[in-house]
Symmetry: C2
């Protein structure tokens, strides 16, 4: 007789976990309320205004390396990753709540720096810290951030609105943050970093939430689905595909990559396209756009931000199928990067 | 030359930490917004309606013993302690966000039970789970809960409104939860627990947030300051004293205690008054009431809840001074309970 295996959290994974436990909660929501399944929850506020809420839990050793990242950067980044979720739906952040579990022995000067980093970004984005929770930790540092923001209900963009034929675009270079992380893990001393390496490390530690871009794009009727790039487009696109019941085709040669990432990929033998497609934490925006309106949108976007809005693929009618193409040939993302499709 | 000691988190403590870092954040708040310093933050909502927000971070080994508490009780209690903060200001909870970091090897059946416990209380209190975050943990379980609720702005009660002369009252028995915790730490097998012991253990694991009581009391103009009993009245009263710039006199013989706690205190040699005054996690409400209206309020309260509203002390004009009296004689709370004042 075989042993019946007991199902463990590893067997479900993050998304399996969410779908197992969220269904019981999303069924009974009142109309006008959006719960689990997008970058923020959406609640009625005043008239057309909606309240957006997002929260992220950051654990030492899982989301950051407490011994490596400077407290200044950690304070900054804890807020940045949450603001990125607000950007993803076109929201304007207003209020933050910070819960922090602090291991014994943590120096106050470390915490001063953490809050200095937080404040740098909070001031720039107009976010007020309204509360939270403070406690000891037996192990590493734990940080939970909650952001409340608002948006006009007509100008919120969801993951669920992509339609076959839409152009897929991103608002920033892909893979820089992953490149930075790879460099950090090489333990190169700070003063030995080349300028392009320093650039990538900075992109990993101090991502800029695309708030203005998100608000602008959410106000354009031709923008359909939107989310932020947190796990990497290979993973994030699957979230749009699930929620919009569609597929996506990505053209690898169109992925925007920085010259710094190109240089480092050559130097260290990284597969550039894999880093760009599978690397996470770039925190730019990923969106789909009505195809006939894309050129006009890219022009408006360029006028406003002085940067292009690169198209990287197209939404298809094949639910759940994500295909990659390189110079018209289909390829697949394997363990060692992209291979010819087998 | 002496070594200059570097200030550590232990040197500040939780409340020192909060006052060090909150001042920079509370200074610049817009009018109508209450940030750090009370059980919930308060934000403008629709007209007279205010939005209340509270969050609590729960860490294995600090706030609960992951190996001891059943997942059913942990799910229940994670929500309960947050709802208690909502009760403390007279709010009606509506929405919850749950972030959870799950150690590898956690069984799905454990999580099923956790969510069953959560749902039991969520249904009873009308709280919808709208989102959160799920992640792995290198060490123990981490839980962060956020509750959004609402209240009429005229019917919110703060920690800062106590006035000298006010009667101090509580809405429930004190010390039961601490008694339960002491029993749990004795590792008595479940089936060996006497009924009064089982009662205390249950009071520790399944505290009832006093939501109806909080809403009722916040609606009575004679109720001035209010908060929930989370750290024990000895600690919690100091929060009211700080915020209201007053002192408090407590009459120990008036502290309401259950017969179960009395029985167990005799059996195990606990100092009953110390357990009642210094034990935490009872999650009933602590309030101050205009003295000339107290009798009338207690009567209304009894008619509504069929329970008394015990007066336990009085607010004084001595800022920061908490005095205990036992049969008219002043006593002090020392390491081994209450002693004659020295």
């Amino acid at each position: 007789m075989k042993n019946k295996k007991r199902l463990k959290i590893e067997d479900l994974g993050e998304f399996g976990f969410i779908s197992r436990f969220s269904s019981g909660f999303t069924r009974m929501l009142p109309p006008g309320v959006l719960g689990i399944g997008d970058d923020c929850a959406v609640l009625p506020w005043k008239g057309q205004k909606k309240l957006l809420v997002t929260t992220d839990l950051l654990i030492d050793g899982v989301h950051f390396l407490g011994g490596r990242i400077s407290p200044l950067n950690l304070g900054y980044k804890s807020l940045a990753v949450n603001l990125s979720d607000m950007a993803a739906m076109g929201g304007r952040p207003g209020w933050a709540f910070l819960s922090i579990a602090i291991p014994p022995g943590t120096e106050i000067s470390w915490l001063d720096e953490f809050f200095r980093g937080w404040r740098q970004l909070a001031r720039r984005t107009g976010v007020h810290l309204l509360g939270g929770d403070t406690t000891g930790s037996r192990n590493g540092l734990v940080i939970n951030v909650v952001i409340l923001g608002e948006a006009d209900g007509r100008h919120i963009r969801y993951r669920s609105s992509a339609r076959p034929g839409d152009i897929v675009a991103v608002t920033g270079n892909l893979g820089d943050s992953e490149g930075g992380l790879r460099l950090i893990l090489k333990n190169i001393p700070d003063n030995k970093l080349k300028p392009e390496e320093r650039y990538l490390v900075k992109r990993h530690y101090r991502p800029r939430p695309h708030l203005e871009e998100g608000q602008f794009l959410a106000g354009q009727p031709e923008v359909r689905a939107m989310m932020d790039v947190s796990d990497g487009i290979d993973s994030d696109l699957r979230r749009i595909m699930e929620r919009s019941d569609c597929g996506v085709r990505i053209f690898l040669e169109q992925l925007p990559v920085s010259s710094a990432l190109k240089k480092c990929s050559q130097k260290y033998g990284w597969n550039l396209e894999e880093v760009a497609a599978a690397g996470g934490e770039d925190y730019c925006l990923l969106l789909t756009v009505a195809p006939e309106k894309f050129a006009g949108l890219a022009e408006k976007y360029f006028r406003r931000f002085k940067r292009p809005l690169p198209a990287i693929g197209q939404v298809t009618a094949e639910p759940g199928v994500l295909r990659y193409f390189k110079n018209q040939v289909q390829v697949s993302l394997g363990k060692s990067g992209f291979d010819h499709f087998r």
